[in-house]
Symmetry: C2
Subunit: 336 residues, 2 copies
């Protein structure tokens, strides 16, 4: 997978330094998440708990915690705001489940499959509203402005993605717009609010936003590669979700544009009309390999990773900065 | 339909005095709604425009405008906040369309039927987030607190409704909890913020909240009656949506509890297992008539209407107060 820029050269880049550094804070975030997703309507904590328990990497709240700490913040507000960020993300996942009719999320049965579409939409609404309640309790209009804007942009990005779905004419520029909005905006906001609560100058807010935005793009590019990854397949993980739904991601865009007419006919049949037969996913992966579409998507991810790294340049060296730099490599080299 | 307490005795209670009184403000609200639902992603204004153009009564933003005016407010903030209230309501409608698989909303094809579930969920998310952006621009943490809390409670109420759906054991108390949360909370919040921006004492905020809450309950009770109304049927309007979905509303609860075992078997078959045959809706209406379930639901609405009216008691008489009082009767006597 090319050059791994790890601080220790030998080991793979990992989330461990970051999670260790903010372990206590993260425990507090998890407690608050459980506490604030509570409702007398039992289905809400049941359903929300299902997706929260599924865990995931908690990357976004980790970014808020580490950004605040790197900015020298010594208070407790970052705990609640990290929980806000996680609630916004969880609401998106729940609505994504409805939207994409995906059956599996993080290896567990999706909330949608267990409780149905209705409940997923409404519990998502509850979590999004609860997130705003938490922000109001925090009381910062700057933070509210950043996160409400991120939330609009995410929804906008999801709708934009809908209009590109099943459309093989979609180009790289449009794809980038989609992933910036639907994924990278929340990464950017999660980082930026760290500087805001630490009352750092605007240049540091901007730097953290640049870091988060480009990290988010690199993260999504890698995610889109993993959905066609032979390694993932070998590990028994679910791949091919994007293919089955006809999502136009960069690996598809590159393979389509580099392919001949017969190949384009294949892509149109499988992704536009969704006429898919046994062996089609394997053929898609073969075509991507043939045209280096997966390797080049990883290269693109590295490009954004490099910008993210330079975004952190103005901050003093220290354990938080090192851990954040390592996350860039982790996001690009990860196999999960 | 019983006693109509109208100021002029003769004519039916109407929205007209209220809409006339705040016509200029309402025009400004409509302009702002159109402006702020704009997005470079064309599907967003298209879909949102569809539901906004469908119109409806704009009752909730009217309440904000009139409440602010009755409190002597002379500024412009009520315009944007009325738009916020309408956005929250529209987002709920869009998510309700997904949820209930309803085919018609306000007589037009539902957004869901035209654009699909995905788009309805995501555009709803966009409008809800946009509403919070507008509130942040307004800059009042009190208003943000009231509307973010209302938004959580609405979602909670919708989930609670889901757990009562198809359950004929649901009682009146549980039903009231549902309609308070899913409908009346937004009426209450829409009114309360009028006093907040006018910087009126808390007793007036509370009074407007009482007015809105009880008006909202009366409104929903009437809505639930209209869904079984023979008059509506005769007018060619869609009725029976609640019946087809197995929603447990007060007319059902009263008819079920007042019925014999054979009737309860009918209700269980049609609403719990949703085994519905031609003529079942008509039989449901007959059973409701037999047990005075519809008339008594209207009586219940009048009870809440009376509380709403007393809620306004502390405000000085004037055109806004008269118009708000008339809305109570309109909400109960309306046939649409």
């Amino acid at each position: 997978m090319g050059v791994v820029v790890s601080l220790e050269g030998e080991r793979s880049p990992s989330l461990a330094p970051l999670t260790t550094l903010v372990a206590d804070d993260m425990r507090a975030v998890n407690e608050l998440v459980v506490q604030r997703m509570h409702s007398p309507v039992a289905m809400i904590p049941q359903l929300a708990g299902h997706i929260v328990a599924a865990g995931g990497k908690r990357l976004r709240p980790l970014l808020t915690l580490a950004s605040a700490r790197m900015c020298g913040y010594a208070g407790r507000r970052h705990i609640a705001l990290a929980a806000c960020v996680e609630f916004i993300h969880t609401a998106t996942l729940l609505h994504d489940d409805v939207v994409d009719e995906s059956d599996l999320r993080r290896g567990l049965a999706s909330a949608n499959a267990v409780w149905g579409n209705k409940a997923s939409v409404l519990v998502g609404d509850f979590l999004l509203s609860r997130s705003f309640e938490l922000m109001v309790e925090d009381g910062s209009l700057s933070v509210l402005s950043i996160l409400s804007r991120a939330s609009s942009l995410i929804a906008e990005g999801e709708v934009l993605q809908l209009t590109t779905q099943n459309d093989t004419e979609t180009g790289e520029t449009r794809y980038l717009e989609v992933i910036k909005a639907k994924t990278a905006q929340l990464f950017a906001a999660a980082c930026r609010i760290g500087a805001v609560i630490a009352a750092r100058p605007k240049v540091e807010e901007d730097a953290l936003e640049t870091f988060g935005m480009n990290l988010g793009i690199a993260f999504q590019l890698t995610d889109d590669v993993l959905d066609y990854s032979a390694t993932q397949m070998a590990l028994g993980k679910t791949v091919g979700d994007d293919f089955r739904e006809g999502k136009i991601t960069l690996p598809v865009i590159l393979a389509f544009r580099r392919g001949d007419e017969a190949e384009r006919t294949f892509w149109r049949r499988t992704l536009e009309t969704l006429e898919q037969r046994p062996g089609d996913l394997e053929r898609a992966v073969d075509l991507m390999e043939k045209h280096k579409a997966l390797a080049d998507t990883v290269e693109r991810a590295r490009h954004y990773g490099a910008i993210a790294r330079d975004g952190l340049g103005i901050f003093a060296n220290g354990p938080e900065k090192s851990a954040l730099v390592e996350i860039i490599d982790f996001c690009i080299e990860r196999t999960y």
